[in-house]
Symmetry: C2
Subunit: 211 residues, 2 copies
DNA sequence: ATTGTAGGCTAATTTGGATTAGCCGTCAAG
DNA sequence: CTTGACGGCTAATCCAAATTAGCCTACAAT
Protein backbone atom coordinates (compact mmCIF):
# COMPACT_ATOMS: atom_id res chain seq x y z
CA UNK A 1 0.00 0.00 0.00
CA UNK A 2 2.99 2.17 0.59
CA UNK A 3 4.00 1.34 -2.97
CA UNK A 4 1.46 3.79 -4.26
CA UNK A 5 3.23 6.59 -2.51
CA UNK A 6 6.70 5.40 -3.40
CA UNK A 7 5.73 5.54 -7.04
CA UNK A 8 4.95 9.22 -6.75
CA UNK A 9 8.19 9.82 -4.93
CA UNK A 10 10.41 8.08 -7.44
CA UNK A 11 8.49 9.51 -10.36
CA UNK A 12 8.96 13.02 -9.02
CA UNK A 13 12.68 12.43 -8.68
CA UNK A 14 12.93 11.27 -12.26
CA UNK A 15 10.64 13.93 -13.69
CA UNK A 16 12.66 16.62 -11.94
CA UNK A 17 15.88 15.32 -13.44
CA UNK A 18 14.80 14.51 -16.99
CA UNK A 19 11.37 15.94 -17.55
CA UNK A 20 8.17 14.02 -18.05
CA UNK A 21 8.74 12.96 -21.64
CA UNK A 22 12.19 11.52 -21.00
CA UNK A 23 11.17 9.30 -18.14
CA UNK A 24 9.94 5.81 -18.96
CA UNK A 25 7.35 4.06 -16.91
CA UNK A 26 9.85 1.22 -16.62
CA UNK A 27 12.38 3.56 -15.00
CA UNK A 28 9.93 4.53 -12.33
CA UNK A 29 8.98 0.92 -11.74
CA UNK A 30 12.58 -0.19 -11.47
CA UNK A 31 13.31 2.38 -8.79
CA UNK A 32 10.28 1.28 -6.86
CA UNK A 33 11.44 -2.31 -7.22
CA UNK A 34 8.60 -3.64 -9.33
CA UNK A 35 7.96 -4.19 -13.03
CA UNK A 36 6.35 -1.62 -15.26
CA UNK A 37 3.01 -3.38 -15.73
CA UNK A 38 2.57 -3.54 -11.97
CA UNK A 39 2.48 0.22 -11.86
CA UNK A 40 -0.87 0.05 -13.56
CA UNK A 41 -2.34 -1.61 -10.50
CA UNK A 42 -1.81 1.72 -8.77
CA UNK A 43 -2.21 4.35 -11.46
CA UNK A 44 -4.19 4.30 -14.65
CA UNK A 45 -1.42 5.79 -16.76
CA UNK A 46 1.83 7.67 -16.74
CA UNK A 47 -0.11 10.90 -17.01
CA UNK A 48 -2.14 9.91 -13.96
CA UNK A 49 1.10 9.63 -11.99
CA UNK A 50 2.06 13.11 -13.04
CA UNK A 51 -1.35 14.44 -12.11
CA UNK A 52 -1.19 12.78 -8.72
CA UNK A 53 2.13 14.49 -8.08
CA UNK A 54 0.65 17.86 -8.88
CA UNK A 55 -2.31 17.17 -6.64
CA UNK A 56 -0.13 16.11 -3.77
CA UNK A 57 1.85 19.28 -4.17
CA UNK A 58 -1.28 21.34 -3.92
CA UNK A 59 -2.05 19.67 -0.63
CA UNK A 60 1.40 20.35 0.72
CA UNK A 61 1.50 23.95 -0.27
CA UNK A 62 -0.34 25.32 2.68
CA UNK A 63 2.20 23.82 5.05
CA UNK A 64 5.09 25.77 3.70
CA UNK A 65 4.40 29.27 4.90
CA UNK A 66 6.57 28.58 7.93
CA UNK A 67 9.66 28.34 5.80
CA UNK A 68 9.65 32.04 5.31
CA UNK A 69 10.05 32.89 8.97
CA UNK A 70 13.17 33.57 10.91
CA UNK A 71 13.47 30.32 12.79
CA UNK A 72 10.92 28.30 10.86
CA UNK A 73 9.05 27.20 13.97
CA UNK A 74 7.41 30.25 15.50
CA UNK A 75 3.96 31.07 14.33
CA UNK A 76 3.59 34.15 12.18
CA UNK A 77 1.45 35.46 14.97
CA UNK A 78 4.39 36.70 16.99
CA UNK A 79 5.08 39.37 14.45
CA UNK A 80 6.37 41.39 17.36
CA UNK A 81 9.91 40.23 16.83
CA UNK A 82 10.04 41.81 13.40
CA UNK A 83 9.74 45.21 14.99
CA UNK A 84 13.17 45.11 16.55
CA UNK A 85 15.02 42.80 14.22
CA UNK A 86 18.81 42.77 14.01
CA UNK A 87 20.94 42.40 10.92
CA UNK A 88 21.80 38.87 11.96
CA UNK A 89 18.14 38.07 12.26
CA UNK A 90 17.51 39.50 8.83
CA UNK A 91 20.28 37.29 7.49
CA UNK A 92 18.66 34.37 9.26
CA UNK A 93 15.40 35.23 7.54
CA UNK A 94 17.04 35.21 4.14
CA UNK A 95 19.15 32.14 4.84
CA UNK A 96 16.20 30.24 6.13
CA UNK A 97 14.14 31.01 3.11
CA UNK A 98 17.00 30.17 0.81
CA UNK A 99 18.07 26.94 2.49
CA UNK A 100 14.53 25.71 2.83
CA UNK A 101 13.82 26.24 -0.84
CA UNK A 102 17.20 24.83 -1.77
CA UNK A 103 17.38 21.74 0.39
CA UNK A 104 13.90 20.61 1.20
CA UNK A 105 13.90 17.54 -0.91
CA UNK A 106 10.32 17.57 -1.99
CA UNK A 107 10.26 21.29 -2.69
CA UNK A 108 13.46 21.12 -4.67
CA UNK A 109 12.37 18.28 -6.89
CA UNK A 110 9.02 19.81 -7.45
CA UNK A 111 10.50 23.15 -8.37
CA UNK A 112 12.86 21.59 -10.87
CA UNK A 113 10.03 19.65 -12.42
CA UNK A 114 7.98 22.81 -12.74
CA UNK A 115 10.94 24.58 -14.28
CA UNK A 116 11.13 21.95 -16.98
CA UNK A 117 7.41 21.61 -17.56
CA UNK A 118 6.28 25.21 -17.12
CA UNK A 119 5.79 25.88 -20.83
CA UNK A 120 3.75 22.74 -21.49
CA UNK A 121 0.77 23.79 -19.51
CA UNK A 122 -0.45 27.21 -18.56
CA UNK A 123 -1.61 25.85 -15.21
CA UNK A 124 1.88 24.77 -14.31
CA UNK A 125 3.22 28.16 -15.32
CA UNK A 126 0.72 29.80 -13.00
CA UNK A 127 1.63 27.48 -10.15
CA UNK A 128 5.29 28.28 -10.64
CA UNK A 129 4.81 32.01 -10.59
CA UNK A 130 2.51 31.88 -7.61
CA UNK A 131 4.76 29.61 -5.60
CA UNK A 132 8.15 31.09 -6.37
CA UNK A 133 7.31 34.68 -7.15
CA UNK A 134 4.01 36.05 -5.94
CA UNK A 135 3.67 34.17 -2.67
CA UNK A 136 7.20 34.85 -1.43
CA UNK A 137 6.94 38.50 -2.44
CA UNK A 138 3.63 38.80 -0.71
CA UNK A 139 4.69 37.12 2.50
CA UNK A 140 8.03 38.82 2.77
CA UNK A 141 6.44 42.09 1.77
CA UNK A 142 4.23 41.69 4.79
CA UNK A 143 7.19 41.04 7.07
CA UNK A 144 9.30 43.84 5.69
CA UNK A 145 6.25 46.06 5.86
CA UNK A 146 6.07 45.38 9.58
CA UNK A 147 9.67 46.39 9.93
CA UNK A 148 9.05 49.60 8.06
CA UNK A 149 6.07 50.39 10.23
CA UNK A 150 8.15 49.71 13.30
CA UNK A 151 10.86 51.98 11.98
CA UNK A 152 13.49 49.28 11.66
CA UNK A 153 13.66 49.79 7.91
CA UNK A 154 12.77 52.75 5.78
CA UNK A 155 11.63 53.04 2.19
CA UNK A 156 9.21 54.87 -0.03
CA UNK A 157 8.07 51.69 -1.71
CA UNK A 158 7.81 48.47 0.27
CA UNK A 159 7.05 46.39 -2.80
CA UNK A 160 10.22 47.37 -4.58
CA UNK A 161 12.16 46.94 -1.36
CA UNK A 162 10.76 43.43 -1.15
CA UNK A 163 11.76 42.82 -4.74
CA UNK A 164 15.26 43.96 -3.85
CA UNK A 165 15.28 41.52 -0.98
CA UNK A 166 13.86 38.53 -2.77
CA UNK A 167 14.99 38.75 -6.41
CA UNK A 168 18.65 38.06 -5.60
CA UNK A 169 17.61 35.12 -3.46
CA UNK A 170 15.49 33.79 -6.27
CA UNK A 171 18.28 34.17 -8.77
CA UNK A 172 20.78 32.41 -6.54
CA UNK A 173 18.29 29.62 -6.07
CA UNK A 174 17.95 29.05 -9.80
CA UNK A 175 21.72 29.02 -10.11
CA UNK A 176 22.04 26.34 -7.45
CA UNK A 177 19.32 24.21 -9.02
CA UNK A 178 21.26 24.31 -12.25
CA UNK A 179 24.76 24.07 -10.83
CA UNK A 180 24.75 22.64 -7.34
CA UNK A 181 28.52 23.02 -7.13
CA UNK A 182 28.02 26.77 -6.83
CA UNK A 183 26.08 26.50 -3.63
CA UNK A 184 28.86 27.59 -1.28
CA UNK A 185 29.53 30.63 -3.42
CA UNK A 186 25.82 31.38 -3.51
CA UNK A 187 25.56 31.26 0.26
CA UNK A 188 28.33 33.79 0.61
CA UNK A 189 26.69 36.03 -1.94
CA UNK A 190 23.41 35.64 -0.06
CA UNK A 191 24.91 36.92 3.13
CA UNK A 192 26.69 39.80 1.44
CA UNK A 193 23.44 40.66 -0.30
CA UNK A 194 21.47 40.81 2.92
CA UNK A 195 24.12 42.81 4.73
CA UNK A 196 24.12 45.35 1.97
CA UNK A 197 20.32 45.27 1.83
CA UNK A 198 20.25 46.04 5.53
CA UNK A 199 22.80 48.79 5.21
CA UNK A 200 20.79 50.38 2.43
CA UNK A 201 17.33 50.15 3.88
CA UNK A 202 18.04 50.34 7.60
CA UNK A 203 16.82 53.54 9.14
CA UNK A 204 19.98 55.55 9.34
CA UNK A 205 19.82 57.20 12.76
CA UNK A 206 22.86 59.29 12.08
CA UNK A 207 21.32 60.68 8.94
CA UNK A 208 18.09 61.37 10.73
CA UNK A 209 19.84 63.15 13.56
CA UNK A 210 21.93 65.29 11.26
CA UNK A 211 18.97 66.70 9.38
CA UNK B 1 19.28 25.95 -49.74
CA UNK B 2 17.48 28.35 -47.48
CA UNK B 3 15.47 25.36 -46.30
CA UNK B 4 18.36 24.24 -44.18
CA UNK B 5 18.19 27.42 -42.22
CA UNK B 6 14.43 27.48 -42.01
CA UNK B 7 14.53 24.05 -40.41
CA UNK B 8 16.66 25.39 -37.59
CA UNK B 9 14.37 28.34 -37.19
CA UNK B 10 11.16 26.36 -36.99
CA UNK B 11 12.76 23.69 -34.84
CA UNK B 12 13.93 26.31 -32.38
CA UNK B 13 10.44 27.73 -32.18
CA UNK B 14 8.97 24.33 -31.44
CA UNK B 15 11.71 23.25 -29.02
CA UNK B 16 11.26 26.48 -27.08
CA UNK B 17 7.54 25.88 -26.74
CA UNK B 18 7.41 22.16 -26.04
CA UNK B 19 10.91 20.96 -25.35
CA UNK B 20 12.97 18.65 -27.50
CA UNK B 21 11.25 15.40 -26.60
CA UNK B 22 7.76 16.68 -27.30
CA UNK B 23 8.50 17.94 -30.77
CA UNK B 24 8.10 15.51 -33.64
CA UNK B 25 10.27 15.65 -36.69
CA UNK B 26 7.06 15.75 -38.69
CA UNK B 27 6.01 18.94 -36.84
CA UNK B 28 9.17 20.69 -37.85
CA UNK B 29 8.84 19.52 -41.42
CA UNK B 30 5.25 20.66 -41.65
CA UNK B 31 6.14 24.16 -40.57
CA UNK B 32 8.89 24.30 -43.10
CA UNK B 33 6.44 23.09 -45.72
CA UNK B 34 8.04 19.74 -46.52
CA UNK B 35 7.59 16.13 -45.40
CA UNK B 36 9.48 14.59 -42.54
CA UNK B 37 11.74 12.33 -44.60
CA UNK B 38 12.92 15.33 -46.60
CA UNK B 39 14.42 16.79 -43.45
CA UNK B 40 16.99 14.06 -43.57
CA UNK B 41 18.40 15.51 -46.77
CA UNK B 42 19.54 18.42 -44.61
CA UNK B 43 20.26 16.94 -41.21
CA UNK B 44 21.30 13.48 -40.22
CA UNK B 45 18.88 13.23 -37.32
CA UNK B 46 16.64 15.13 -34.95
CA UNK B 47 19.52 15.38 -32.54
CA UNK B 48 21.67 16.90 -35.29
CA UNK B 49 19.11 19.65 -35.69
CA UNK B 50 19.28 20.39 -32.01
CA UNK B 51 23.06 20.44 -32.09
CA UNK B 52 23.07 22.78 -35.05
CA UNK B 53 20.85 25.17 -33.13
CA UNK B 54 23.24 25.19 -30.22
CA UNK B 55 26.18 25.76 -32.52
CA UNK B 56 24.49 28.62 -34.29
CA UNK B 57 23.76 30.18 -30.94
CA UNK B 58 27.40 30.01 -30.01
CA UNK B 59 28.25 31.94 -33.14
CA UNK B 60 25.68 34.59 -32.39
CA UNK B 61 26.70 35.12 -28.81
CA UNK B 62 29.52 37.51 -29.43
CA UNK B 63 27.19 39.88 -31.24
CA UNK B 64 24.98 40.48 -28.27
CA UNK B 65 27.16 42.52 -25.99
CA UNK B 66 25.65 45.64 -27.49
CA UNK B 67 22.29 44.89 -25.99
CA UNK B 68 23.55 45.79 -22.58
CA UNK B 69 24.33 49.39 -23.45
CA UNK B 70 22.20 52.43 -23.06
CA UNK B 71 21.10 52.94 -26.63
CA UNK B 72 22.24 49.66 -28.06
CA UNK B 73 24.23 51.28 -30.86
CA UNK B 74 27.15 53.14 -29.33
CA UNK B 75 30.33 51.21 -28.90
CA UNK B 76 31.30 50.34 -25.36
CA UNK B 77 34.37 52.42 -26.02
CA UNK B 78 32.65 55.68 -25.17
CA UNK B 79 32.42 54.69 -21.56
CA UNK B 80 32.66 58.39 -20.86
CA UNK B 81 28.92 58.81 -20.82
CA UNK B 82 28.58 56.50 -17.86
CA UNK B 83 30.45 58.97 -15.74
CA UNK B 84 27.67 61.52 -15.79
CA UNK B 85 24.62 59.35 -16.28
CA UNK B 86 21.15 60.53 -15.35
CA UNK B 87 18.38 58.53 -13.75
CA UNK B 88 16.56 58.43 -17.05
CA UNK B 89 19.63 57.06 -18.72
CA UNK B 90 19.94 54.43 -16.04
CA UNK B 91 16.33 53.46 -16.69
CA UNK B 92 17.14 53.33 -20.38
CA UNK B 93 20.01 50.99 -19.58
CA UNK B 94 17.72 48.66 -17.66
CA UNK B 95 14.88 48.90 -20.13
CA UNK B 96 17.15 48.24 -23.04
CA UNK B 97 18.59 45.18 -21.45
CA UNK B 98 15.18 43.95 -20.44
CA UNK B 99 13.44 44.59 -23.73
CA UNK B 100 16.25 43.14 -25.76
CA UNK B 101 16.24 39.94 -23.77
CA UNK B 102 12.47 39.86 -23.77
CA UNK B 103 11.69 40.65 -27.38
CA UNK B 104 14.60 39.65 -29.49
CA UNK B 105 12.99 36.72 -31.14
CA UNK B 106 15.99 34.49 -31.43
CA UNK B 107 17.25 35.23 -27.95
CA UNK B 108 13.86 34.63 -26.44
CA UNK B 109 13.27 31.30 -28.08
CA UNK B 110 16.74 30.16 -27.28
CA UNK B 111 16.41 31.15 -23.66
CA UNK B 112 13.14 29.29 -23.29
CA UNK B 113 14.62 26.22 -24.87
CA UNK B 114 17.56 26.37 -22.48
CA UNK B 115 15.19 26.78 -19.58
CA UNK B 116 13.44 23.56 -20.51
CA UNK B 117 16.53 21.58 -21.41
CA UNK B 118 18.97 22.87 -18.80
CA UNK B 119 18.81 19.75 -16.61
CA UNK B 120 19.37 17.32 -19.46
CA UNK B 121 22.89 18.32 -20.18
CA UNK B 122 25.45 19.96 -17.98
CA UNK B 123 26.77 21.90 -20.96
CA UNK B 124 23.41 23.55 -21.49
CA UNK B 125 23.23 24.41 -17.81
CA UNK B 126 26.61 26.09 -18.06
CA UNK B 127 25.58 28.01 -21.15
CA UNK B 128 22.46 29.20 -19.41
CA UNK B 129 24.26 30.46 -16.34
CA UNK B 130 26.98 32.12 -18.37
CA UNK B 131 24.58 33.82 -20.72
CA UNK B 132 21.88 34.93 -18.34
CA UNK B 133 23.75 35.28 -15.09
CA UNK B 134 27.50 35.62 -15.23
CA UNK B 135 27.88 37.61 -18.42
CA UNK B 136 25.23 40.21 -17.61
CA UNK B 137 26.56 40.58 -14.08
CA UNK B 138 30.06 40.97 -15.37
CA UNK B 139 29.23 43.49 -18.06
CA UNK B 140 26.89 45.54 -15.96
CA UNK B 141 29.30 45.33 -13.07
CA UNK B 142 31.83 46.96 -15.31
CA UNK B 143 29.44 49.74 -16.25
CA UNK B 144 28.24 50.35 -12.74
CA UNK B 145 31.84 50.21 -11.61
CA UNK B 146 32.60 53.07 -13.96
CA UNK B 147 29.79 55.05 -12.43
CA UNK B 148 31.09 54.40 -8.96
CA UNK B 149 34.58 55.45 -9.96
CA UNK B 150 33.16 58.58 -11.50
CA UNK B 151 31.25 59.28 -8.31
CA UNK B 152 27.80 58.97 -9.88
CA UNK B 153 26.97 56.01 -7.67
CA UNK B 154 28.36 54.93 -4.35
CA UNK B 155 28.67 51.57 -2.70
CA UNK B 156 31.02 49.45 -0.66
CA UNK B 157 30.51 46.43 -2.88
CA UNK B 158 30.02 46.86 -6.59
CA UNK B 159 29.24 43.19 -7.14
CA UNK B 160 26.34 43.19 -4.75
CA UNK B 161 25.17 46.48 -6.14
CA UNK B 162 25.19 44.87 -9.58
CA UNK B 163 23.26 41.94 -8.22
CA UNK B 164 20.70 44.39 -6.85
CA UNK B 165 20.47 45.98 -10.27
CA UNK B 166 20.24 42.82 -12.32
CA UNK B 167 18.47 40.19 -10.19
CA UNK B 168 15.09 41.97 -10.32
CA UNK B 169 15.45 42.36 -14.08
CA UNK B 170 16.25 38.67 -14.39
CA UNK B 171 13.30 37.68 -12.27
CA UNK B 172 10.91 39.87 -14.24
CA UNK B 173 12.25 38.33 -17.41
CA UNK B 174 11.50 34.80 -16.26
CA UNK B 175 8.01 35.91 -15.27
CA UNK B 176 7.36 37.31 -18.73
CA UNK B 177 8.69 34.20 -20.44
CA UNK B 178 6.24 32.19 -18.42
CA UNK B 179 3.31 34.59 -18.48
CA UNK B 180 3.60 37.06 -21.34
CA UNK B 181 0.40 38.75 -20.24
CA UNK B 182 2.27 40.19 -17.29
CA UNK B 183 4.66 42.14 -19.46
CA UNK B 184 3.08 45.53 -18.96
CA UNK B 185 3.08 45.08 -15.23
CA UNK B 186 6.69 43.92 -15.38
CA UNK B 187 7.74 47.00 -17.30
CA UNK B 188 6.24 49.25 -14.66
CA UNK B 189 7.94 47.29 -11.93
CA UNK B 190 11.20 47.54 -13.88
CA UNK B 191 11.03 51.29 -13.93
CA UNK B 192 10.09 51.55 -10.26
CA UNK B 193 12.94 49.20 -9.47
CA UNK B 194 15.51 51.28 -11.27
CA UNK B 195 14.25 54.54 -9.79
CA UNK B 196 14.55 53.10 -6.34
CA UNK B 197 17.93 51.58 -7.21
CA UNK B 198 19.10 54.98 -8.29
CA UNK B 199 17.70 56.65 -5.19
CA UNK B 200 19.49 54.13 -3.02
CA UNK B 201 22.86 54.02 -4.66
CA UNK B 202 23.13 57.54 -6.05
CA UNK B 203 25.78 59.56 -4.27
CA UNK B 204 23.73 61.56 -1.86
CA UNK B 205 25.26 65.02 -1.99
CA UNK B 206 23.09 66.21 0.82
CA UNK B 207 24.32 63.45 3.08
CA UNK B 208 27.91 64.06 2.12
CA UNK B 209 27.58 67.77 2.82
CA UNK B 210 25.92 67.28 6.16
CA UNK B 211 28.65 65.03 7.53
C1' DA C 1 -12.16 -23.56 4.59
C1' DT C 2 -13.35 -20.41 0.90
C1' DT C 3 -13.19 -16.61 -1.43
C1' DG C 4 -12.04 -12.35 -3.28
C1' DT C 5 -9.04 -8.76 -3.75
C1' DA C 6 -4.59 -6.45 -3.73
C1' DG C 7 -0.56 -6.45 -5.99
C1' DG C 8 3.04 -8.78 -8.40
C1' DC C 9 4.84 -11.18 -12.88
C1' DT C 10 5.58 -12.58 -17.94
C1' DA C 11 4.20 -12.30 -22.34
C1' DA C 12 1.73 -10.00 -25.68
C1' DT C 13 -0.14 -5.95 -28.11
C1' DT C 14 -0.31 -1.32 -29.82
C1' DT C 15 1.24 2.73 -31.24
C1' DG C 16 3.60 6.58 -32.28
C1' DG C 17 7.31 8.47 -34.23
C1' DA C 18 12.30 8.40 -36.07
C1' DT C 19 14.64 6.85 -39.74
C1' DT C 20 15.54 4.41 -44.35
C1' DA C 21 14.64 2.89 -49.13
C1' DG C 22 13.92 4.00 -53.30
C1' DC C 23 11.78 6.87 -56.80
C1' DC C 24 11.41 11.31 -59.38
C1' DG C 25 11.82 16.03 -61.26
C1' DT C 26 14.85 20.01 -61.93
C1' DC C 27 18.63 22.36 -63.23
C1' DA C 28 23.53 23.65 -63.71
C1' DA C 29 27.90 22.13 -65.61
C1' DG C 30 30.31 19.71 -68.99
C1' DC D 1 21.80 16.63 -74.53
C1' DT D 2 23.10 14.15 -70.68
C1' DT D 3 24.50 13.52 -66.19
C1' DG D 4 24.72 13.98 -61.49
C1' DA D 5 23.64 16.08 -57.29
C1' DC D 6 20.16 18.44 -54.86
C1' DG D 7 16.00 18.21 -52.61
C1' DG D 8 11.34 16.59 -52.53
C1' DC D 9 7.85 12.54 -52.10
C1' DT D 10 5.53 7.95 -50.77
C1' DA D 11 5.84 3.81 -48.80
C1' DA D 12 8.19 0.91 -45.89
C1' DT D 13 10.80 -0.33 -41.72
C1' DC D 14 12.15 -0.38 -37.05
C1' DC D 15 11.93 0.16 -32.44
C1' DA D 16 11.18 1.81 -28.11
C1' DA D 17 7.85 2.54 -24.73
C1' DA D 18 3.05 2.59 -22.99
C1' DT D 19 -0.47 -0.27 -22.07
C1' DT D 20 -3.28 -4.74 -21.78
C1' DA D 21 -4.09 -9.71 -20.99
C1' DG D 22 -3.99 -13.17 -18.24
C1' DC D 23 -1.99 -15.71 -14.66
C1' DC D 24 -0.38 -16.47 -9.75
C1' DT D 25 0.36 -15.81 -4.63
C1' DA D 26 -0.69 -14.07 -0.21
C1' DC D 27 -3.78 -12.95 2.96
C1' DA D 28 -7.85 -10.85 5.17
C1' DA D 29 -12.59 -11.34 5.86
C1' DT D 30 -16.64 -14.12 6.05
Amino acid sequence: MDTKHRILDEALTLFSEKGYANVFVADIAERVGIKAPSLYKHYKSKQAIFNAIVEEMNRRFSEEAGALRIDGTNAAADAEIYKHISEDELIALGNNLFLYFLHDDYTKRFRKMLTIEQFHDKKLADVYTKKYVDDPLSYQGMLLGLMVTAGVLQTEDVNIMTLHFYAPIYMLLTICDREPEREAEALKTMEAHIRQFNRIYARDEELIQSK
